[in-house]
């Protein structure tokens, strides 16, 4: 007959304020413990480090401590960026680079997910796919460039293909590991609750594998930019990397820095987007970073 009694856990509070009953008697003594979590987030905290670096760079240039031929001042770089954007080919170079990265990424992501599902959810799929991908992983993808140039020519197709391969491997590996590492306790639960196989996959296996998928996704984002940079600098006739390669021939450090900054912005924005999606999708996870 104790069914509707209120739960005992109602007295739980956020940071150990159970000690507050003690402080009521002796107001002078604070008895709450120091927290071991890192504490509250600093607003826009992730921007503070880069801002400090930028300030040091500007200060060094203004004081004449940096060789303008090696590291031009921030304002020189900014002026060059504006000039390239308004008078030069920068907009179309950026568009070309983004298109390569986006296409390669989309194809690689799809392939990685499809293969991981096929291999993680069926024994036949695993037998066919897993070993093959593990072999593929053993070969450094950028080492495939000469072969791919011979097969696909030196155009866009080969660049997109290489980026797709760089992307699909971490997506596959992490998603597959997460799918096959499903907690057996949850498998038992699904059996007891009478779930059909499609229900089991949709309600238990896939949500359980999402954290692993996101690990792969973030590695893939980084990988796609790395692949893009390498591809554009060794053999391209357009795009950001080509712009930087040309600048290297004429000793135009400021243009190279503009290119690097844009790559940096690409990387930062794409990583933030993935983090944002991850935090939305995995909102059930309460970890230190939330």
């Amino acid at each position: 007959m104790t069914t509707t009694a209120p739960s005992t856990s109602a007295s739980r509070t956020a940071d150990g304020t159970a000690a507050s009953t003690g402080t009521g008697a002796r107001p002078g003594r604070k008895r709450s413990r120091r927290t071991l979590t890192p504490g509250r987030r600093v607003p826009a905290g992730r921007l503070i480090g880069p801002a400090v670096v930028l300030a040091l760079w500007a200060a060094g240039s203004a004081a004449g401590q940096l060789d303008p031929g090696a590291i031009p001042a921030p304002w020189t770089v900014a002026r060059t960026a504006v000039r390239l954007w308004t008078e030069g080919t920068l907009p179309s170079d950026i568009a070309t680079s983004l298109r390569r990265a986006a296409l390669g990424f989309a194809i690689g992501l799809t392939a990685g997910v499809v293969l991981a599902l096929a291999s993680g959810l069926s024994r036949i799929g695993e037998a066919l796919i897993d070993g093959t991908v593990q072999l593929n992983r053993a070969v450094p993808t950028l080492g495939l460039i000469p072969l791919f140039i011979l097969w696909l020519g030196i155009g866009e197709t080969f660049k997109i293909a290489i980026i797709a391969i760089v992307v699909y491997i971490p997506v596959y590996l992490n998603t597959h590991a997460a799918l096959s590492g499903i907690d057996t306790r949850f498998v038992e639960l699904a059996e007891v609750q009478g779930l059909s196989r499609p229900q089991f996959i949709r309600q238990v296996v896939i949500p359980g594998a999402l954290p692993g998928f996101f690990v792969g996704l973030r590695l893939a984002v980084t990988g796609s930019w790395l692949g893009l940079v390498v591809l554009e600098q060794i053999n391209a006739t357009s795009g950001l990397g080509y712009l930087m390669f040309q600048a290297q021939n004429y000793g135009q450090t400021d243009i190279i820095l503009v290119g690097l900054l844009i790559y940096g912005v690409f990387g930062l924005v794409s990583d933030s987007v993935v983090r944002l999606i991850e935090r939305r999708v995995l909102s059930w996870r309460r970890t230190l970073s939330v």
């Binding site: 007959m1 104790t2 005992t8 856990s9 038992e188 007891v192 609750q193 229900q199 949500p207 996870r285």
Partner: protein, 244 residues
Amino acid sequence: MAPHTERLTRPAVRLRGLTRSFAGRTVLDGIDLDLPAGQFTALLGHSGSGKSTLLRAVAGLDHGVEGSGEISAPERVSVVFQDSRLLPWRRVLPNVLLGTDGKDAAERGRAALAEVGLAGRERAWPSELSGGEAQRAALARSLVREPELLLADEPFGALDALTKIRMHGLLRDLWQRHRPSVLLVTHDVDEALVLADRILVLDSGRIGLDLALDRPHPRSPRDPVLGACRERLLAALGVTEEAA
């Protein structure tokens, strides 16, 4: 007097010659057992005595385990595990409704949550629940399927003593209202005494003691009749009160 005596005629669970072994070691050695419909039975045993093996066999969860024997169990079986086993990526109500469908499912889920005292917590994440609340949600999940047989594998083993007492009351209430057959596996003699109308002791792969217990509820562990039963149970388990 148990008011449900007339219902105890048709067995809900029937085991004949149930044998299970792990790596050559016989854990269950030809068990014959009938559990009448609507009876609250507790199964006691040492750790490693095979009581969970028996429960898992009845639940049909022992794939790939060596063994033989006949098992007949009802169609609708629910299992409550020692851990609440709520899916961390689903809120409480969808967790309760796992594997339940139909258009009134959500209503039934809400009703089950209200019954275990969790009304208003439908949208909480499992990580926001205390141990006792999580186990209540697990009970709601097993209830919503209106089981004919409820199998519980040390469901309160991980809870603190106070929470455990409240959960005993809750489980007994729920049983009174829904009248499933219950097989409660536990190593806690007092838990069995407070809850069950029949207590089995599993020893060396066989039922060593089969004790009917016809005391009114709610029971006090200080009831002298229960005290006498406790001694018999402990003796069957090979423990004397002093040595324990």
